[in-house]
């Protein structure tokens, strides 16, 4: 029951984030990278709708849901890694960051295809999140070399990275061990750990809502 409530709350937060992001879709925004970031709530919304459709219509089996989730992780990693890389001014240790991104991709694809797309692939979640958290740490380091951002609390980039750290970083140990947990404890108890993942994911989206709120619309004329 708790799991369902948390899942519904998460879907509602994703939907709220997407709806709130609509105000920026056909406008020029500042900072410009937020235009690209808007794909993320869209991705979250599409994934949620497809999964909800699959679960409630019962016309697709769980393999399809897993596949949708795995493919969405691919886009999730692509969008967030590009954004975190782009928002850094100056880009410190640029080569190291590119290595992290490339290594992340290689590891992600290796995990995804070795374990299969049509499976509940927790390791691929870990593979996608781990490089993002490393990039987020680079961002925090770069902040200290750049004071051109006047007010950090009004910077969308800051809220995106905070969202990634709180949403993805905190659940890293869970995704690293959840597969083993499912093997040794019963499914219901293991589900509680996954619920924590759902909460952290919701926190990430709340932070993204804040990022969208901090984005300015450039009025022309």
């Amino acid at each position: 029951m708790l799991h369902i409530i948390l899942y519904i709350v998460q879907v509602l937060i994703i939907a709220a984030c997407f709806i709130y992001s609509l105000r920026l879709w056909f406008k020029d925004v500042d900072p410009a990278y937020m235009k690209f970031f808007l794909l993320y709530p869209l991705l979250g919304c599409i994934t949620s709708v497809l999964c909800a459709f699959a679960i409630f219509s019962e016309c697709w089996n769980y393999d399809v849901i897993y596949a949708i989730n795995n493919v969405s992780k691919l886009f999730h990693f692509f969008i967030l890694s590009t954004i975190i890389y782009r928002i850094q001014k100056p880009r410190i240790f640029s080569v190291a960051q590119i290595i992290v991104i490339v290594a992340g991709w290689v590891y992600f694809f290796f995990i995804l295809f070795s374990e299969g797309i049509f499976t509940e692939n927790f390791n691929s979640q870990f593979a996608a999140n781990f490089p993002l958290v490393i990039l987020a740490l680079f961002y925090f380091r770069s902040l200290l070399s750049n004071v051109s951002i006047g007010n950090l609390r009004k910077d969308p980039g800051f809220w995106i990275v905070v969202g990634v750290v709180l949403g993805q970083g905190v659940s890293l140990p869970l995704f690293a061990t959840i597969k083993q947990l499912f093997k040794i404890i019963n499914h219901e108890h293991a589900q509680l750990f996954l619920d924590f993942g759902v909460i952290s994911f919701s926190v990430m989206y709340l932070s993204f809502i804040k990022a969208i709120q901090c984005t300015r619309i450039i009025s022309v004329g």
Binding site: L144, V165, G169, V170, P173, L174, I184
Partner: protein, 257 residues
């Protein structure tokens, strides 16, 4: 796996997750704190730089004003006296032949007095910015074909002396540019108060110029810019070929040292 071991594993995962969460929160908050500390430091440094720059400008302009004052005194006390003496001597000669020389000396004396007056900051301090500009306009009306209009808010009659001198010098630079380059036949000057700011605007209907094409801003415009910086205000130069020129200055009514 044994039940005890499983419990320990679960506890270990929870503990690790909590530690990781705390670590990330610590990173976020300490970065925010360090960032704000750095911003404050940078602001302090740039504030000091601005203050130093302002002080340098202030002393530079003070020296300039002192030099102007000295030249004005020299013209008035020395050259002026000598020319007056020459005028008296010429007056004593009763001859038609010296009459043109007498007129020439009289004109030169008038011009020197005018020049001395325009250099002297004491005059601006004594009569105030508005009267000084009005006197200059009256003089320019008498010697040129240009039509002048001067709009002023009465609340600015008792304007800070320092601001008055700086705005007057800006006016002189603009006036000199208009006479030398603009080919204008109409000049509008306005001095308005929109608390806490004052707006000083000088516009002409002359030939104008392309503002992108002025290299190094020109000495006159640079002088204006330096003086505006000293006031801590901002300056806008609007011009285009064939469309006249407008100089718009916004500054605070009070100067803070």
């Amino acid at each position: 796996m044994h039940q005890d071991n499983i419990s320990w594993l679960i506890v270990a995962i929870i503990v690790v997750t909590v530690i990781v969460a705390l670590c990330f929160l610590l990173i976020i908050f300490s970065t925010i704190k360090l960032f704000h500390h750095k911003v404050e430091h940078e602001n302090e440094v740039s504030g000091m730089k601005i203050l130093n720059h302002t002080r340098m400008l202030q002393s530079e302009l003070q020296v300039q004003e002192q030099t102007f004052e000295q030249i004005a005194r020299e013209i008035h006390d020395n050259w002026g006296q000598r020319l007056t003496l020459a005028k008296f001597q010429l007056q004593t000669i009763i001859s038609e032949a010296v009459k043109p020389s007498l007129i020439l000396v009289e004109n030169l004396l008038d011009e020197l007095r005018g020049f001395s007056r325009s250099l002297s900051a004491t005059r601006i301090k004594r009569i105030g910015l508005i009267n000084a500009i009005e006197e200059d306009i009256d003089f320019l009306k008498s010697v040129t074909e240009i039509r002048f209009s001067f709009e002023v808010d009465k609340s600015l009659i008792k304007l800070n002396e320092q601001i008055g001198i700086i705005l007057y010098r800006i006016f002189q630079e603009a006036e000199s540019n208009i006479l030398k380059h603009s080919k204008a036949n109409e000049v509008e000057i306005s001095l308005k108060e929109e608390a806490p700011d004052i707006y000083f605007e000088i516009s002409d209907n002359g030939i104008g110029f392309n503002t992108d094409e002025i290299t190094g801003q020109g000495i006159g415009l640079n002088n204006i810019l330096r003086r505006v910086k000293l006031l801590g205000g901002d300056y806008q130069l609007i011009s285009a070929p064939g469309q006249g020129t407008k100089i718009r200055i916004r500054t605070k009514k009070i100067i803070y040292d």
